[in-house]
């Protein structure tokens, strides 16, 4: 037990130290160098769907509109817009279809909560089965 505690303590100190170092690094790069912007633009382009090609993101697509939109993302980043604002702009222009990560609405709630529901149902079912079958005094109910 002591070894685990020691390990946790080590982890916590490491986190703190690294966290400070990280904070310093981040203040240095807040100038938003072109290379950083470019990386951000690539990251955003990878989550958006090309309106022209069958099923490719903006980054991989080589259609003219994809290059145009990639440039647009970069320009908007340069103007200081955040990733969310840019995605909202793209959705307003091309519809919900452009984003590969659908937004959470009443229509897509099932998409996000069904896997969680499935997971908890499976775990619940199995644990319950295990529980009811063990001869324990406090669980008298039979399996349904």
């Amino acid at each position: 037990m002591t070894s685990i505690k020691r390990l946790l303590l080590l982890g916590a100190t490491l986190t703190l130290l690294l966290g400070q170092a990280q904070a310093e690094v981040q203040t240095n790069t807040s100038l938003q160098a072109p290379a950083v912007l470019k990386r951000q633009a690539i990251e955003i382009a990878a989550t958006l769907r090309c309106p022209m090609s069958t099923n490719q993101n903006l980054l991989d697509s080589q259609s003219p509109i994809a290059s145009e939109l990639k440039a647009e993302i970069y320009l908007q980043l340069e103007r200081g817009k955040t990733a969310d604002e840019i995605v909202d702009f793209m959705v307003a222009r091309y519809g919900e279809r452009i984003r590969y990560m659908p937004s959470l609405t009443s229509g897509t709630a099932l998409l996000f909560f069904m896997p969680l529901g499935l997971l908890s149902a499976v775990l619940f079912w199995y644990l319950r089965q295990m529980h009811t079958r063990r001869p324990l005094p406090h669980s008298q109910e039979h399996r349904s």
């Binding site: 490491l14 229509g107 775990l123």
Partner: protein
């Protein structure tokens, strides 16, 4: 004339399949014709007819018989002979025929060694016959591979889709189809096991085990080669895009993985047979659903494959029939299958079973994500996309949990959790978590849950396997279980390598997207890339613009030349880009050539992808480890399953 013989043979095969399917029914109705005496003869004739029909299609391709529509659409007199043979499964009709013939061969191989009088095998062959009859009827009615183009016979064929003209076409589809066939056989075995009461369920599941392993190994190979092919050919450097077509083959793989483990569990403990049968039925149903998704054109995909709504309806009908029949039967027999679980806490069977259930959850969730845009459009009339960001945030955490069970399960004892094993495991988990946490901090700077999960999963799997091997060597247990033990360790290490490769290549990839022309250079990840010249290359089937790019390593020594191309195909003027890749064990240098931006300059994408090759190395390790379980010396019964794919290879 040849094409008509092929068609006739298919019709004969359909009749034989229907007869085989009708045998148990005739027996149940106390029909006086004793059909079952002819079962093995029917199987032989059926396989012969299907094989001959497939060979006739091969011959038509080699013979450039463009009066046959399928040949005219998928071949060309200029096409290399190897691709002509591969073109047999390069389109919809031929690949269905290949699928049917592979089922035929597999069932023939089963019939060679099996005790033909056992009712289990009667039911098995009847179900396989019914499946084949369904597929052949589908071929004959909707998509006849031998249909003629009369009277306007084209002088020249339309050529095989240029993207398919790759070594990938020779390897990927046959492996995948043999995997699908394996799941079909497991489905048939599950139905037979539910119908036949003469022997114990444990016995049936033991018979099914090698088939499931072979199916799993083939699906592993099929998925891995598919992903490797996309990496080489599509020119965007990705190896997995969560495209619907990719998911259609990945979901059955997940189910097959769960099925294999469930069968192993059932064999050891004589429990959980219900789960195995459920997974076997689900696996084949999902193969059919996947085929429907891929071939009906309801989903949009980069790997668009022979889409036609009419075929979709037929496949959907088959899917509905198979799943409804299978699950109804299972539900009917379920009360008999439930056995008490006399086990507690963190015992090996609990961990394995939970792992299987999690694999099932992963498979169903991916299926939901794949079908969701379709359902959403039907209900609301609006379209949405569900893509890589969604699937990654779903699958990576699940992989993390599954690998937790996967690493821990072999270290636990059967039935009871071993208290002495839990403590070191908890410590090991903490160490792995700590290491992946500090790796994350040191290398990425910010906390990234996906990176942590990936690195934790691979570290955990590797260290658990190491621990297990150490314990095993110390104990020196009986030599009988050794083969399986080592195969398990090697396969789990393969999974760890794949996860490691996937994690490292996604997070430590360095990439530049830039304009480049002759004389220009750029440093990426310490390597200097110098654009030397633009060249034109002509090939029998395409002409290409290729960039000659010199790569210099970190000490400024010449490393290699890379030649990314933009190929234009002669037959249909389609343009694709082929990447220039320098492979090494620890990192790939990947260049793809984009659009022409000015007279001399092109859009060039240079990537440095560390450990990307390990994804496929891991998958190959898994596949061959799985196949090695089927070596004849292992057990007499398992020997009989390995020949099908050999026979199929011989048929090509």
């Amino acid at each position: 004339m040849n094409a008509e013989i092929g068609l006739l043979l298919l019709t004969i095969s359909l009749t034989l399949c229907l007869l085989m399917a009708a045998m148990p029914i005739a027996q149940a109705c106390r029909c006086r014709v004793a059909l079952h005496d002819y079962l093995s003869l029917f199987i032989k004739l059926n396989t012969l007819a299907q094989l001959a029909s497939l060979l006739i299609l091969v011959f038509l391709f080699l013979d450039n018989d463009f009066s046959v529509a399928y040949v005219a659409n998928n071949s060309n007199s200029q096409l290399a002979s190897l691709y002509k043979v591969a073109a047999v499964w390069g389109g919809h009709e031929g690949s269905m025929l290949f699928w049917v013939a592979a089922i035929g061969i597999w069932s023939w191989v089963i019939s060679l060694k099996s005790d033909a009088t056992a009712p289990f095998f009667h039911y098995l062959h009847a179900v396989l016959g019914a499946i084949q009859a369904g597929l052949i009827a589908f071929l004959l009615i909707g998509s006849n591979p031998f249909a003629r183009l009369l009277p306007g016979i084209p002088v020249e064929g339309r050529d095989l889709n240029p993207i398919l003209q790759d070594i990938g076409l020779i390897l990927h589809p046959p492996l995948l189809f043999v995997g699908y066939v394996g799941l079909a056989v497991c489905f048939a075995a599950a139905v037979a096991a539910l119908l036949d009461n003469s022997q114990s369920m444990k016995h049936h599941c033991r018979v099914m085990r090698p088939w499931a392993i072979l199916a799993w190994a083939m699906l592993t190979g099929g998925n891995a080669f598919g992903s490797w092919w996309a990496y080489n050919e599509l020119g965007w450097g990705g190896w997995w895009f969560w495209d619907p077509v990719e998911n259609a083959s990945f979901i059955p793989w997940l189910v097959a993985t769960a099925l294999m483990h469930s069968l192993i569990l059932g064999e050891q403990r004589d429990r959980f047979h219900g789960t195995s049968l459920f997974l076997a039925i689900l696996g084949f149903s999902l193969c059919l659903l996947g085929t429907f998704l891929v071939r009906s054109g309801v989903v949009q995909s980069v790997h668009a494959f022979a889409a036609d709504p009419l075929r979709g309806a037929a496949m959907l009908t088959l899917f509905a029939l198979v799943s409804i029949c299978g699950f109804t039967l299972l539900l009917h027999r379920l009360p008999k299958l439930i056995r008490p679980i006399s086990t507690q806490g963190l015992s090996r069977e609990n961990l394995m079973q939970l792992g299987n259930l999690l694999l099932l959850v992963a498979a169903l969730s991916i299926l939901l994500g794949t079908c969701y845009p379709l359902l959403y459009e039907v209900v609301t009339g609006q379209s949405i996309s569900v893509g890589a960001p969604y699937f990654n945030s779903l699958f990576i955490p699940l992989t993390g949990i599954i690998s937790l069970f996967m690493g821990a399960a072999p270290l636990m004892g059967w039935q009871a959790s071993r208290q002495d094993a839990i403590k070191p495991l908890a410590l090991l988990a903490c160490i792995c978590l700590g290491v992946s946490f500090s790796l994350n901090y040191l290398m990425l700077g910010e906390i990234d849950a996906h990176f942590m999960l990936g690195s934790f999963a691979s570290l955990w799997l590797i260290s658990c396997t190491g621990l297990y091997v150490r314990n095993h060597l110390r104990r020196m247990t009986l030599p009988t279980g050794n083969r399986r033990f080592y195969v398990m360790c090697v396969t789990h290490l393969g999974v760890a390598l794949s996860i490691l490769g996937a994690t490292c290549s996604s997070y430590f990839q360095q990439e530049e997207l830039l304009r480049m022309g002759p004389g220009q250079g750029r440093v990426v990840a310490g390597y200097t890339f110098i654009y030397q010249a633009t060249e034109t290359v002509s090939h029998t089937s395409y002409s290409a613009l290729q960039a000659k790019i010199e790569v210099r390593d970190k000490r400024d020594q010449h490393l290699t030349y890379l030649y990314p191309q933009r190929q234009t195909f002669n037959s249909n003027a389609m343009q694709i880009s082929a990447a220039g890749i320098h492979r090494s064990l620890f990192a790939d240098l990947y260049i793809s050539m984009g659009n022409q931006l000015s007279e001399e300059e092109f859009l060039i994408r240079i990537s440095y992808k560390p450990l990307v090759g390990w994804i496929w190395i891991g998958a190959l390790i898994m596949m061959f480890a799985g196949l090695s379980l089927l070596r004849p010396s292992d057990a007499c019964r398992q020997a009989r399953v390995s020949p099908p794919q050999l026979a199929v290879k011989g048929a090509r």
